[in-house]
Point group: C2
Chain length 211, copies 2
């Protein structure tokens, strides 16, 4: 009974993710989701309190996993090289987004809208993301150079990591790249690895050299 | 008479941009736009053939200007240093997005959806964007190193340039940065300038050194 309930819930969530992604949140009705998931619309209200509840479920599913990848590596900082921790977090997030490419695309698009739920996501998960990325970067470059720059570094890193999954159609049609494939994750990870090397580990420090 | 017509059209477009941005395209009705623009809903059908026509108008207004900034600089390549051309294009696009922040946010969000109009935008404007950025980068680094990397460079540059305007709420609430302000444009331009210096002009070339 428990299994059956959990599998119905998962089927509903999977159908919702697919439809939210393709048709947008507002363009998708409970009826569409019920039809796709082959369940009675009443089930969706029962399990999720409607579309808004499903949206919350999608956000939470995504951001719990996303934050967990960074947090795991912050916890490893005491035992391992900080650059390794940073890079593993990046790799895991890229692989996770690739594997869950429908969900990722939908979530990154949806968090660009002003709404009550997005404000809640921002003040919980994205504030935590900020805190955790700062921990990782400060462990790599423990100096005063970073103070005014760390915000821009994190903004840049985030945009490099999320953009291919938000704009998978652009990558496919303009560059013939497929963010949902393992090959892409490997190749793109190399690029971000280079970015971390150049911009964080060996970042250009502004030093006043006396002449 | 012409002025009055043109100003009514502009009022409708401005109202549509604002509402599409805040409530999303699917969440906005012709009635909402008419109310905001203080016009009769029939006017919107008359001028734009409905919501879809307004969406097209927004895309065209954005991408015509956007492509023009890059094209101008490609045309200047014969008279000026290529790195200057590249950087001016970047600066102009940042300033344009900042000034038109509602439109930019809406457009970048909307192009992440699969739809007929987005496929048309991709195959026209975004293919042209690819061509023009390649011209600029190849003028700076005319060597074989770039061949397999130029796609990733352009993808990275684009994501750095667009992300703050798509995620203006994130920047505001998490980092206290305001992408619609001139101050942000100046400061963020510096960051992209650094990125261009490090990743394109002085890019790390993989050279086999014989030992």
């Amino acid at each position: 009974m428990v299994n059956r309930r959990s599998s119905t819930k998962d089927t509903i969530v999977d159908a919702a993710i697919l439809l939210f992604n393709i048709k947008g949140f507002d363009g998708t009705s409970i009826r569409d989701i019920a039809k796709k998931a082959k369940v009675n619309p009443a089930n969706i209200s029962y399990y999720f309190e409607g579309k808004q509840g499903l949206l919350e479920k999608c956000f939470i599913q995504f951001f719990e996993a996303y934050i967990e990848f960074i947090e795991e590596e912050v916890n490893l900082l005491k035992n391992d090289r900080p650059d390794y921790c940073m890079k593993r977090a990046v790799y895991k997030i890229l692989a996770f987004q690739s594997k869950n490419h429908h969900l990722s695309r939908f979530v990154w698009r949806e968090v660009s809208i002003d709404s009550q739920i997005v404000r809640e996501i921002t003040s919980s998960y994205l504030m935590k993301e900020r805190y955790l990325y700062k921990k990782l970067i400060e462990a790599i470059v423990p100096d005063h150079y970073l103070e005014s720059n760390i915000g821009y570094l994190i903004i840049q890193l985030r945009s490099l990591m999320t953009m291919p999954f938000l704009n998978s159609q652009y990558l496919r049609e303009v560059w013939n790249l497929f963010p949902q494939e393992n090959y892409f994750v490997e190749k793109y990870y190399e690029k971000i690895d280079e970015w971390i090397e150049t911009n964080i580990i060996n970042q250009p420090r502004k030093i006043n050299i006396p002449i």
